[in-house]
Symmetry: C2
Subunit: 128 residues, 2 copies
Amino acid sequence: MDITNIKFNDLGLVPAIVQDYATRQVLMMAWMNEEALKLTIETKKATFYSRSRQKLWIKGETSGNIQTVVTLDYDCDGDTLLIQVIPAGPACHTGNTSCFYRNLVSNEDLATGNIEILGNLQSLIADR
Amino acid sequence: MDITNIKFNDLGLVPAIVQDYATRQVLMMAWMNEEALKLTIETKKATFYSRSRQKLWIKGETSGNIQTVVTLDYDCDGDTLLIQVIPAGPACHTGNTSCFYRNLVSNEDLATGNIEILGNLQSLIADR
């Protein structure tokens, strides 16, 4: 383990993607500073740095929904982490399993190409 | 689809996690500005903003390893995107399927608690 492989940004932070080890669902993304990363490794409990509260937070410390770390990888640039965890409960404060519970574009629209069709119709109407 | 749900950071960027739709492997993380996000939606080809080159890049434009977008979700805070894609080839410029091909901590160490044991031994030796 060589933490010097990790490039923290200007604010001393690195993004950490959290994935469910069993289901492979992506649960959330949060930021770690060096201390949060070291604590995550030592305790095996996903620990982050809150940019809004400007302090460390152990995920699930309040809710009980601790995330136990199973794997901890870093990317080719060394500027993003991927941790696979066993979560004790939902990752999201809304009660959803994952924080990514909303489509920005509906999957049907992506699949059928309705976006282009609607865009074309819009242009057609605008032209008239 | 309401792009105003997305909170771009001070630099006008939002991180986008890219996951393989079929295998659920997390492939990479890159940044999008508003134009990159709109192009991703319109073309269904994952398109990012390169912070180093300060320009848009269509993933796979040079290598051929295009990523076709199947789902596009955003998180509870609206400040991170998750896109599931069908990749035409490896995501990483190293040729690896995923950019996350290296352990920061070996999975065995995480599983067996060797980290704590080694840490304790180190303290013990330092004390003598």
